[in-house]
Symmetry: C2
Subunit: 123 residues, 2 copies
């Protein structure tokens, strides 16, 4: 593989594996060997589905505001905030009125996200 | 651990394990179970040290411009660009004249970065 193939951009709609996570929530997924990145776009007031998976997850709020639902708590988050979601912890997200963009990181990579599809997947 | 302890901010200087990577390049490190985040601040024209490690690495350009040196090539990068560095690949970075901020992701976590110190570490 040419090393140039390892360079991407958050705004390039032609890169990544497309996935519709929920109504108003879409993502582009970039699988690596040990970690997987997911560039998530949330429409205004879009709401995710409460779910969990064994893989560790980190989220980085790139734009907008949202409420992170995690381990039974609701935490307001805005651009610059980031968080860790240990494996097995139930979580979801609710976008603010301006929508949001979040970079999710999964480690190890989630198998179900390696192919295009829909939904959050669950264990 | 209270779930609130899993929430951080890119701009909070009191969070993370401090590390001086090189002259003009400092970071705050957040270790997880499967992945580790590193919020790197580069002074204008700061230059890293060419090195490699077994862990996979991803970099996300948060602010500024830089040249990513990876696998013998030099790739100009700016805010919004991101890249994957497979384990074992030599890499470094050279900040632009305005400096830069980069979010690095390591998986698995780098042991040497779990404690405060200096330098990039090498295998």
């Amino acid at each position: 593989m040419n090393s140039q193939d390892e360079f991407f951009n958050l705004d390039n709609p032609d890169q990544g594996i497309q996935r519709q996570l929920a109504e108003g929530i879409s993502t582009r997924i970039f699988p690596g060997d040990q970690a997987m990145l997911s560039v998530v776009t949330l429409a205004p007031d879009a709401v995710g589905t409460l779910h969990s998976h064994a893989e560790e997850q980190w989220g980085v709020m790139l734009e907008g505001e949202a409420v992170r639902i995690q381990d039974g708590k609701e935490v307001p988050v805005r651009a610059g905030d980031f968080w860790r979601t240990p494996g097995g912890i139930e979580h979801s997200v609710r976008a603010g009125p301006q929508g949001a963009r979040i970079l999710d990181i999964f480690s190890p990579p989630r198998e179900i996200y390696k192919t295009s599809g829909s939904g959050f997947g669950t264990d």
